[in-house]
């Protein structure tokens, strides 16, 4: 992994694996979507089970991306891994997009399943706060002018958010047990049978591969942009 520390090596390596990644993404995501679409109505949930195939992968991706964001930020601060800053910056907008998608699909799933577009339970509220944390992170990158400073500041913020997210989830959960009567009971969740497990797993995997594909392209883009900037700033070299 440290072999990728060199931007040129990353460009070379990524141009080699990117086509495969794209193929894998298309196949997996395609299979997941098709299987999900063709899945029979669940005897309890009816066709709303299709919404699960759209919501769960998005929500899972949103959280996974934040984990990666925190990890690359840690690398950036502790080991000064040169590409970590770029990787972190590139990941955030993708994570924010998945969070928005998760929120919207969640609302569309929540209404038929549990009767409400939105409830202030632990998971949803923490997920909403995750979106704000993403947006703050992205805003910080663009607000700080110096790129090196921006990278360090963003890394600190990302780690702060990572530490705080479990605390936030715990506090909202506690708050909900206090108001048990008012919240809509969401005990467990549907138990998944095989005919639904495959579309769900494939969709989740597809979304994940899609993220890695887009992440790679965004990192490549950032590297090219930095190269262009250094040429422009360096003048005639």
């Amino acid at each position: 992994m440290f072999a990728f520390a060199n931007p040129k090596r990353f460009m070379d390596a990524s141009s080699a694996f990117l086509p495969w990644l794209v193929v894998a993404t298309v196949l997996t995501l395609g299979a997941g979507v098709v299987l999900g679409f063709l899945a029979p109505p669940d005897y309890q949930q009816g066709d709303t089970v299709k919404l699960m195939f759209l919501h769960v992968p998005a929500a899972w991706s949103a959280m996974m991306v934040y984990g990666l964001l925190a990890l690359t930020s840690l690398f950036s601060l502790v080991w000064r891994h040169p590409l970590s800053d770029v990787a972190a910056k590139a990941a955030a907008p993708l994570g924010a997009m998945f969070t928005v998608l998760g929120l919207i699909t969640g609302a569309l799933w929540g209404r038929p399943m549990w009767g409400a577009y939105w409830v202030w339970d632990a998971r949803l509220t923490s997920f909403l706060l995750l979106l704000f944390i993403y947006l703050g992170y992205i805003a910080l990158w663009s607000a700080v002018e110096d790129e090196v400073r921006a990278a360090r500041a963003a890394a600190i913020l990302a780690l702060l958010g990572a530490v705080n997210l479990p605390v936030i989830e715990f506090s909202v959960d506690w708050w909900n047990t206090l108001h048990q009567g008012e919240s809509i009971a969401r005990a467990g969740g549907p138990r998944i049978s095989a005919v639904f497990l495959w579309p769900l797993a494939l969709s989740a995997l597809g979304y994940t591969l899609l993220f890695f594909t887009l992440w790679t392209v965004r990192i490549r883009t950032e590297i090219l942009e930095r190269r262009a900037r250094s040429i422009l700033l360096g003048g005639a070299a």
Binding site: D47, L51, L54, H55, L108, P112, T221, R227, I231
Partner: protein
Amino acid sequence: MSQFFAMGGYGAFIWPAYGVSALLLGATVAVTVRAYRKARAQLAVLEKP
């Protein structure tokens, strides 16, 4: 056919969900690819002479 669109009465939720998913994912792919191509083109111009 109309039964297909109704999706057991949940059509009003299912189709928008597919729609917004396709929209957001598709737009993200499009924006990402376009930014990459633009960066690549700009660098090619700068590295020419």
